[in-house]
């Protein structure tokens, strides 16, 4: 009881001091942690933007080739300045019939940038396309050897043959707009395809 009385009469305010400083330390820890996470997330955003720039640039070359009314050949080389940020990390470039995906592993976190081309893409060289069509339809689909099939069947067949193809960022990418010709013995129609290969 005497101790309690002493405690109540103690006017040195050390409890006030301890509580105040503890709150201050806790608040400082929270603020410093928040600033650190903010800085880390800003760095991650910066890496994501660089990855997006890479995939958008490749996509715009594919779309430019696809929009051409004639057959065109374009050679694309990945921008070394943007690529240099990812050289110490593993970077995968995957192209399928539907997506262009660039995947980088930065400090254990996987960053992905995926874009959709506006035109039909076949991620193989012309020889593979012609061989595939010849093996299925007996014709290569060129203007001299048009295919006798429904376009939807041929598109379905090529889609089923298309896997994700991995590309090497340090090598050139060849982008080629080509046409596959069809005939029903009266008319000849054509469908544009963008071939992307190394």
């Amino acid at each position: 009881m005497k101790q309690m009385s002493g405690f109540l009469r103690d006017e040195r305010a050390w409890v006030d001091f301890v509580l105040s400083k503890t709150a201050l330390i806790l608040a400082s820890v929270v603020v410093i942690t928040a600033i650190y996470h903010f800085a880390v997330s800003m760095e991650e955003v910066s890496h994501q933007r660089e990855l997006d720039v890479l995939s958008t640039e490749l996509l715009s070359y594919i779309d430019k080739a696809g929009s051409s009314p004639d057959e065109v050949n374009i050679t694309y080389t990945f921008n070394e300045e943007h690529l240099s940020h990812f050289q110490e990390h593993s970077t995968d470039i995957l192209i399928s019939g539907e997506y262009v995906v660039i995947n980088a592993d930065v400090d254990g976190r996987s960053l992905i940038s995926a874009q959709t081309p506006a035109f039909r893409v076949y991620p193989y060289p012309p020889s593979v396309l012609y061989d595939d069509l010849r093996s299925e339809y007996g014709s290569s689909g060129t203007i001299t050897e048009p295919i006798r099939a429904e376009p939807a069947d041929m598109i379905g067949y090529l889609t089923s043959r298309t896997d994700e193809v991995s590309f090497n960022a340090s090598e050139r990418v060849y982008i080629r707009k080509t046409f596959i010709y069809f005939t029903d013995d009266i008319n000849v129609e054509k469908i544009g395809y963008v071939l992307v290969y190394q």
Partner: protein, 166 residues
């Protein structure tokens, strides 16, 4: 105010550091909010610009498409547009028209003469118009209404994006 400044009791004095820390936290939260708002606005701008380029390339591709070509390479045939427009559209031709484009890209094409007298809408067969955001790009074209009449017009591609806010 005078009363407040002449008050010498120093009630707030021991908690000065707490107020300073609270102000710092508040400042940081406001800063983070401003930065994230700016980043979101920048992302939306970049997204719109990037998709505008895609819509523009699709529009150019269609403007030069042999499927719509009139008597000359730079003309778009109204007769061929009639075959692709409306419920009477020829499904085979319509399907062939969209076959060159990726099935993941959803768009519609609006073509009109400059005076608005003739308008054609070309939709993907069996597609529903999504309520997501859209980007439109236009190119000027010359429409061949008949062998004797050619009029200026506009070809507009409206690109619907499912990933608008992604």
């Amino acid at each position: 105010m005078c009363w407040f400044t002449n008050d010498d009791r120093a009630i707030l004095e021991p908690q000065n550091d707490i107020f300073a820390t609270a102000l710092l936290v508040l400042g940081f939260v406001v800063f983070a909010c401003v930065v994230s708002k700016t980043y979101i606005a920048h992302q939306e701008g970049a997204f719109a610009l990037e998709n505008y380029e895609q819509a523009s390339l699709i529009a150019q591709s269609i403007a030069h498409s042999q499927m719509l070509q009139g008597s000359r390479q730079d003309l778009i045939s109204a007769e061929k547009l009639d075959a692709l427009d409306g419920p009477q559209a020829d499904l085979h031709t319509l399907s062939l028209f969209f076959d060159s484009f990726s099935p993941n890209v959803n768009f519609q094409v609006d073509i009109s003469t400059e005076n608005g007298e003739h308008i054609w809408h070309i939709h993907k067969p069996a597609s529903s118009s999504p309520s997501m955001g859209q980007i439109a790009a236009s190119v000027p074209v010359t429409l061949e209404l008949n062998p004797m009449q050619q009029v200026p017009g506009t070809l507009t591609v409206k690109l619907f994006k499912d990933r608008w806010n992604s």
